[in-house]
Every structure is written in C-alpha cells, then in structure tokens.
Symmetry: C4
Subunit: 280 residues, 4 copies
C-alpha cells in the first residue's frame, strides 16, 4: 500500500449518514463495522448452505418454495448491500472495479438468469464464498506472512509434478491392462504419493507394487521435508514478532492489522517517513 493510498483512505467524508454507512460497510477496525460484517458473513455462509440443500434430490420438491423465497430474500439483501457500498464508497468507481466490487456484482447475477440455467446459478452461489475473503482478515494475514513458504512450495510442487509424470508413465508401461492411459497413471501416482489412496486404481503386478512402494517412500519423505522447511520458516518469522498495543498479543512484523482484535498496527518502517501523520 503506497503512502498516497493510505492518506486518501483517511480523508473524512462530509455527509454524516454516508460516513456512518461507510464505517459500517468498509471499516473493519471500528466495532460497528465488525458487527455489520460478521452479520453479512453469517448470511453468506447460510445462503451457501441453503443453496446446498436445494441440490438434495428428494428434498427439493418439498422445500422448493421456501428455498426460492430465501434465495430471493438473500439476493435482495445483496443488491441493497451492493448499492449501499457503491453510494458510500470514497471512490465508487474504484470500488466497482476492485476485486471485491466485481465479486459482489458476480453474486447478484443469479437473479438476472433465474429460472433455467441451473448450473450457472449453482456456480454463482459458490462465488458468494469469495465474498468471505473480505472478512477473513486473520487468514489473509496468516497467508501473507508465509510468502517465503510459498517459494519453497513452488519448488516442492514442481518436484512432485515431475515425479508424478515419471511414475504415471512408468505404471502405464508396467500395467497397461489395469491403467487405461498415461493420464490415469499420473492420477494414480498423485493419489498414491500423497497417501490419499482412494483404491480406485491399485497395482496388481510385482513391478507395479515395487514402483508404488518407491513412490510412497518418496512422497512421505517429500512431505516430511515440506513440513520441516515450513516449521523452520514459521519459527523464524515468529522470532521477529512485536506486541499488539491493543490486546498485547504477539503478532508478526509484517501485519498491518492485529489478527486477533483487528486494531491497525503502526508499521515500524514509517519511522523514516517525516511527513506522515498517524491516523487517530
């Protein structure tokens, strides 16, 4: 976040009603904002779970009317939320084109195509869960603090991909009567290597089982290494923590909000920023 963006974010809004709605809808550091957002979060999860009930065959006929009503109600609520966000955002266009704005818009689409395109509607219902990302600040920050770990995972995932390709092709050579094609071989490799072991494809020949054994040992070692590297990285990042001034819990340096109480953190690197005035 650039210094400019931060300054703009704290420009006061003239209209008091708009200012209050803005705080309710956007400001996760205020108590009112957290309450509104927690309510919306529960409604989103409830609506997704209700949508799932509609997929249960023998229930659909019985509860159809209810589900339909609830669906209309939730979409109406989201339309109101979307309009309110558009009206009260500091820069409505910036909001409308932002990731969150597009997700909010996408979740309204089922209304427009309601009636026939069942698959499309179901897909859009799942989109609603993306709205949750906004509210999962703790999770977001947790993931952000593990950026180092993702580099290691990229190496591990490339290694796994190549092992899966090699083993998948080899098992197809060894048991062509059991494995239909090389892609199925790769699917089996992944399922075996990660110890999922569905059992839909199981090697029967001695050679296939030896390959499987080697693959399992490689898989377990790889994931043991992955766990080891992640442990070390996490240990290192936790060693450079600071205390949250609001709740006194230890948090990572790079967090700009406390993951426990959502209090904004004063980043230590702003010390060399002479014209910055901290937000009250």
């Amino acid at each position: 976040m650039s210094r400019h963006a931060r300054h703009w974010k704290h420009t006061p809004i003239a209209n008091p009603l708009r200012a209050r709605l803005n705080r309710w809808l956007f400001d996760l550091s205020s108590k009112a904002g957290r309450r509104t957002n927690a309510t919306l979060m529960i409604i989103i999860i409830a609506s997704v779970i209700i949508g799932m009930f509609a997929t249960v065959g023998h229930l659909e006929a019985r509860w159809k009317a209810l589900f339909y009503t609830v669906e209309i109600g939730i979409i109406t609520l989201f339309i109101i939320e979307y309009i309110a966000r558009l009206l009260t955002a500091r820069r409505p266009l910036a909001y409308a084109l932002s990731f969150y704005g597009l997700v909010d818009l996408a979740t309204l689409l089922p209304l427009l195509i309601l009636g026939d395109a069942n698959t499309a509607i179901r897909l859009l219902r799942v989109f609603r869960l993306l709205k949750l990302i906004r509210y999962l600040r703790a999770l977001q920050l947790f993931i952000a603090s593990l950026r180092d770990v993702f580099e290691i995972m990229a190496v591990v995932i490339s290694a796994i991909s190549i092992i899966v390709l090699v083993a998948g092709n080899l098992i197809y050579l060894l048991e062509p009567e059991n494995i239909t094609n090389a892609f199925e071989g790769c699917w089996w490799s992944l399922v075996t290597m990660t110890t999922v072991g569905y059992g839909d494809i199981v090697p029967h020949s001695a050679a296939g089982r030896i390959l499987a054994s080697v693959l399992i040992m490689i898989g377990i070692s790889t994931f043991a290494m992955l766990t080891g590297v992640i442990s070390v990285k996490i240990s290192h990042s936790l060693a450079y923590q600071r205390s949250c001034p609001a709740c006194a819990r230890m948090i990572a340096q790079e967090f700009s909000y406390c993951p426990y109480c959502a209090t904004a953190q004063h980043p230590p690197r702003q010390r060399d920023d002479p014209d910055h005035t901290p937000p009250s």
Copy 2:
C-alpha cells in the same frame, strides 16, 4: 482457580473416616487416592469393553447372562462410588452439580431404564468413558498448555471449512452424475483434503481429477503448516519450563499440577500473595 477456592480446598475435614474416604476418592496427589482412582479407571474401561462385546451379534445369546451380571455388578459399584463421593465431598451439592458429578450420575441411568431402550443404554455406556477425563490429568494439562495452538487451529479449521465448501460445490458442478448432492461433494472434499481417501466417491472426469489434485496439494500444505506452527508453539512453551520438585522432570510454567506425578506446583505468581500459606 481463585485464591478463595484453593483455601477452601485445603480446609481439614473433622470426621477421620470421611477424611480418609475423601482422600481416596478425590485426592489425586496422595498415593492412596491414585491407587483408588487407577482401579476405578480400569473398571470403567473394562465395563465399556464388556459393553462392546454385548453388541457382537452371535455372541450375545451365549454370554448374555454373564454380561447382564457383570453389568449389574458394575452399576452397583458406581452407585456405591457416587454415594461415597456425595457423602465425603467437602461440599456435596457443589460436587453433585459439577461436571464430574453430572457425568457420574448419567452413567447410573442405564440401571433405571434397563430392559428395553437398548440404544439409550448403549449411549450411556459410552458416557462412562467421560468419567475417565477425571483420571487423565496428564492429558488435560497437556491440552491446557496448548491453548495458543487452539487459536491457530481455529483459523485452520475455518480455512478448511471454506475450502471444503467451495470444493464440495465445485465437484458437484463438475460431476453431477457421480456426486448425488452438494453435501456429498463436501464430504468428498474433506475426505480427499485430509488424505483419508476412503474411495467411496472418486472423481472420474479430467476436470474432477484436476480439482482433486489441487485440493490434495492445498490439504497437504495446510496440514504441513499446521504441524509447523504447532511445533514452533510447543518449542516456545517448552523453552519456559521449570523443574517439578517431586519428580525433577521439566514442566510448563502454567501447570498447577505436575503432569507426570500429579504433585501440586507452587505457582511462581504466588510470590506476591502475602497471606498465602502453602499446603503441607
């Protein structure tokens, strides 16, 4: 535990027989108390396992009389234990209304409804295992010392829930002929992500298998991270240990009892507690 509660706990009991029984039944720090409790613990486990034998179809007829007799014997013993606890507790009403008191009472209920309600009886038999919590002090303290870890687990479980919801809905969209409804999709997601891999539901289409692959990789990474975070937290909590005066083993600061020998620990924060006289 407040200071008041601790003082009350060490008030001497006038009646010597009641005092001895109280020590036997409640005082895990005395040798006699540990012996009584270990015996009761073995009886509880034995009674649950005997109860399990009664569920084996072809055995039931043959051994029915024996199981019935044993059951009556064990319930009689528990009634005696319950009455003894009530009579010898420092504050009988407080015991009767405590968690342990209610569990002790609940395990006696099978006697009252013996004869017909088989399912209810079996459920109450399982309740007996809850009585074990009392005796598993080491485990309790181990869990208590990991309170920090539970916060992280809450974040991880929320993350997993959302991934399971998204993946469950997506797999239902991708393979509607294979997965009956969206809940079944979520069940498959969880079973796949955690590498359990029962194999009751297995994706057959290319898209479904790609989704499964992504899900497996996310699952393994998430659990590797969880292990990493827990390792670091445990490492940190072990770094601030002190030695148990009774058995000389290292234990965490926040333990008020040694998890190995159940000796009460003199908490370091009592130093600023002038009117406290340590128990002999």
Copy 3:
C-alpha cells in the same frame, strides 16, 4: 550397563582361536566382526525372503525342492553359528539365556518339527528377523536416544485409545445397519482418525459423516501435535551432541557407539570414575 559388566566384557580370552571367533561373532567394533555380522545379516534377510517365495501358491510346486534345500542349508548354518557362539562366548550360559541367545535358539526350531506344522514353521521363519536386531545398532541407539519421546507417545496413544473407544461406540449407535458391532466401530475410528481410510467401512448417514469429520480433524491435530513434540525433543537432544573421534560426525551424548562408524565412544560421565582404565 554397569561398570562391573563393562570390566568383565573386556577380560581377555586365553585360547587364541576362541578369542578370534569371539571377535568375529560378538565384537561389532572390530572390522572382522562387522564383516561376519554383515554376512549373517544378508543371509537372514535372504532366508526370510526365500521363505516368502515358498508361500506363493503357483510357485511352490515348481521350486519346492530348491526351497527345501536352501532351507536345510540355512538352518545348518544357523546351527553352526549357534554352537560357535555357545563355545566362544565369554559366559556361555549367560549367552544361552540372553534375549539374543533365545532368539537364535528359536530360529532353529523349524528343523525339529520339519515336515508337517507349516504354520509353526512360517512363524519361526519370521522370528529370524528378530536376529537382525543385534545388527541394527544404529537403529537401536536412535531409538534409545528417543526415550523421552516414548513417554509423550504413551500419552498420545492413551488419548487416541479413548477417542477411538468413544467414536467407535458412537458410530455404532448412529449407523447400526452399516457397522456390525462396536468393535468394528472402533476399527473404523482408528482407520479414519489415522487417515488410513481403507474404505471397507464408510459412514453413509449425515450424522455419521459429521462424526467422521470431527474424528478426522481430531486425528490430524493429534498427529500434528505428536510431530511437533517429537521435533522439539529431537531438536533438544541434537543440541547436546559431540563429535565422534573416528569419523568426526556429530553424535548424541548418550550413544556409546558411533552410529555411523561403530567406533566405541568414551562416555563423558566416566571422567569421575577413578579406577576405570579405558579399553585400548
């Protein structure tokens, strides 16, 4: 190992041939001893694997004569080894009654009952693998250095046993038509909790699947904690290492032999042992 035992172990043997055989058979710190033992180790593994071939139905008839001959040869070799060990041991009776002596004797029994008791013979063939324990010094020491870890594992295994008992009884209550008896429920609990997930028993009802989900989450958390605790313990034990004087690799304090080169280590606690003369 007491100081007395160590002194007796280094008493010289008068007869030079017996001394040499003793070194070959018992002294893993000499080059000749390691060579003899490595040879015996390979023969043991080979004999077990040959014994396994004899269990393959359609092969048995064809190779029967060969397997029989090899079996006789190996048993003869083990008889010679046993007699040699008895004759050259410093204290033959102590050897004969030691764990290793009894295992050596047990592996000879198939000869005596050769001809009919097939199952007994197969069982005794497996006993041969116990002979390997003698040669797996590195492994033995690795395990010995993890004594602390075993205490934690005992707590974890008790916790798992109780969770398995509770969940096994609950699943039997929830899906009696699917799970035959409460023991099968416990089997399912263990297979689910440890993410093995054979798929022989899979819950079908919503309640059963919710129980399974909770069980999986508990299982994964428990094993993540186990891994964490073990990591920390290993880290601690590795922090107090010393360098092997022969191969310069870092080894744990409590090792009395280097696990890499089998050189005997001069234990640091012998410093306060005035009448001890170190072995040459």
Copy 4:
C-alpha cells in the same frame, strides 16, 4: 569439483559462434543460456504430455496424424540440439559420455525404432523427463543440501523394511484365506503403515485388525520422527546461511550456485586458494 576442472571450465573458446552457442546451451548463469534452457524445458514437458495423449484409447485414431507430426518435429529438434551440444561442448567426448549426454542420446532412440516397438518408445518418452534434471538446478541444490537427511532416511527406510517384512509375514499367518502370499502381506503392511490405505486388502479377523492397529501406530510414530529429524536438520542448515550477492536471498553455505537466480557463488573456502582468479 576439483580446481583443475573449474579452471578448464572457464577456458575461453576461440570460435565466436561456437562460444555463443556454448553459452546458450550450457551456461545457465548467463541470461541467454537460461532463456534457451527454459524454452527446451517447456518443449520437453510439452512433448511428454503430448505423448501421454497418444495413450488415450479413443483419442488415438482421431489425432494420430497430428501426434505423429509433433513427435517427428520434437525428435528433429532434439537431434539438432544433440549435434549442437556435441559441436560446441568444450570437450565433445566428455559430454557424449556424461550422464546428460547419454540421456540426450537415449531420448533420440525412438526415432530409430519408430513403427513397431510401442512399449519401448513410450519408455523412451519418459526418459525425456530425465533431461529436465539439467534444468532443475534449484531442486538439485535443495536435495544436495539435505545430504545429512538422507542418512537418517536410510536408517528409517531400513527400519520400515524390517517392520514391513515382519508384519507382512504375520498377517499372512493370521489371515491366510484373505492374503494370497507373504509378499501380498508385505504390500498390505506398507500400504497400511504409510496410511495410504488403498483398501484392496483389508484385515477381517480381530487378530489381523489388532496387528493393523499396532502397525498404523508404529507407522505414524516413525513418520512423525522422520519429520522431526528433518525439521531439525533443515533448521540447522538454514542457521548457517549466507546472502546471495545477486538476489540477496539467504542460501546455504555449501551451494555453489544460488538456487533462486543461478548466480555462481564465490565459495568461502576459495580464500585459501592463491592462484585462483574468480570468473568475471
């Protein structure tokens, strides 16, 4: 790598075209070299995946001509690459006889036997993936830095092998009607112990299930220990890192190339090498 070899590697090539091609094909530390190699890497992966499509039964007929053309094109490219490498290598014979040279040659063989030996061709297509090893420098170095870990893994793998042998023979004794032979028992042991749990072989008797339970607990403990040891080793190796002068990331001391940006590292032990002139 000996000092002599290093000196020879930096001998300038007289012919400027040959020098440029040499840099393109062999010098991963130059930008042009990395670009050429990344392109070849993508072509290799693409060719393997195209080869996998050819194994899909119902697709083969339709796309056969296309696959055949692509295959010819890729093999032609690899022939050109092989000749270019031979001509521009500093020591062509050394290259031809090196591991990479032999792999490059092996991947050309399908051309020579094109037409009939389908299995051989498929096998050789998989060989192409070995060519990738050249480009996976980051992975190679990551693995190289874990040499210590491999020693521990060797101990763990020996331990697992013996447990698998013992458990495999025992399960065959316990459930001979379920498990065809002792090898199948070992296969089941490995699949169970590593929590893969295909479910192709599942114990049905009480004794078999108790054995499985013990095996699962041993397996999980072993892999928890493996993860713990690896974590500690990685932690130790990361503690002695240095910063890469090119990308400023922390890398292990023993790396001679930065695993992130492939910049050659000036090894600290060259300080005592007076006649060495560092490469520009």
